[in-house]
């Protein structure tokens, strides 16, 4: 349960970051590469995308807090078998 939630948060954070990053790039005009200067102005699709991006990154790390702080009900399936092998 806790591990699932952590995974969801990590995933949500990554998706949020990736989506807001992509939307912030003006990729609307065909033939214009990412680094070219889009003629129609260089704004993102909507405002506050950078804030969402940061939020996404933060969410990823916040997952660690969630994982460690949430009360442990069931044996944790997280981390995946490989990681736990250490020691």
């Amino acid at each position: 349960m806790r591990a699932t939630l952590t995974r969801v948060i990590v995933l949500a954070g990554l998706i949020l970051a990736a989506m807001s990053f992509a939307l912030a790039l003006p990729l609307r005009i065909p033939g214009v590469t990412v680094f070219a200067t889009a003629p129609a102005g260089s704004d993102g699709a909507v405002p506050y995308l950078p804030a969402l991006f940061i939020l996404g990154i933060m969410l990823v790390f916040l997952a660690a807090v969630v994982y460690e702080l949430l009360p442990d009900r069931s044996p944790p399936p997280w981390p995946p078998a490989g990681a736990g092998r250490r020691r």
């Binding site: 070219a36 200067t37 003629p39 129609a40 102005g41 260089s42 704004d43």
Partner: protein, 249 residues
Amino acid sequence: MARYAMVIDLDRCTGCRACMEACKVENNTPRANFWMYVFRFEEGEYPNTRVWFMPRPCMHCDNAPCVKVCPVGARYKRPDGLVATDFDRCIGCRYCEVACPYGVNYFNWKRPERNQYLDWTDAEAAAVLAPYTNGAVPPYKNPDLERAYGPERRRIAGGGHLKGVIEKCTFCVHRVERGLQPACVANCPLFALHFGDLDDPHSQVSQLLRRRSHFRLLEEASTEPRVYYLGGKPPGSDTRQIETIRARA
């Protein structure tokens, strides 16, 4: 959609700097800001001295480094090729300025009343002129510069608006949108400056570029400037600037 460009005929330029002044008055740019700057150059040694002149507006690059680096999209490229600065957006980080190889950006180091010619915080000067200028700073304040331009309706014209933002040559967007030539081009006493649409094969700029050999400044930086120079050659390693303007804000 037009594709605007400027063509500068170095064979005609006398280095008089009238373009700089026309720009300043038209755009109300602050003291020591030269959106249009005219280099006076000397090469060689007496008596084989060569003197020549080179106006330097903003190059309005197609691959503008300043547009690339602007963190907030205040500097942007318009569909007609003008590189604009939204002074309502700019945060004043000056990244565009350090990215630009041409040195065309000017930052408002001072607050507007102190940024212009004469200190308008000086109560006496302000009071003396108020009846004639309605308190306008500078006294020749151009009302067109406050308006929004382009389909995106952003305020991009003129200079000296507020402290802590970057400004530069706009190709006189407020004039161009009214079908006029930029102030420097319109005023050039030697008709050395030309402005027009590269997509129109009959425009003067297109014809000049077809007819005469030309270069652009710092082509090696692949900035794809929209300013073309006719005649002469780019400044080289032995090109010295003379009669340098050293005004600082």
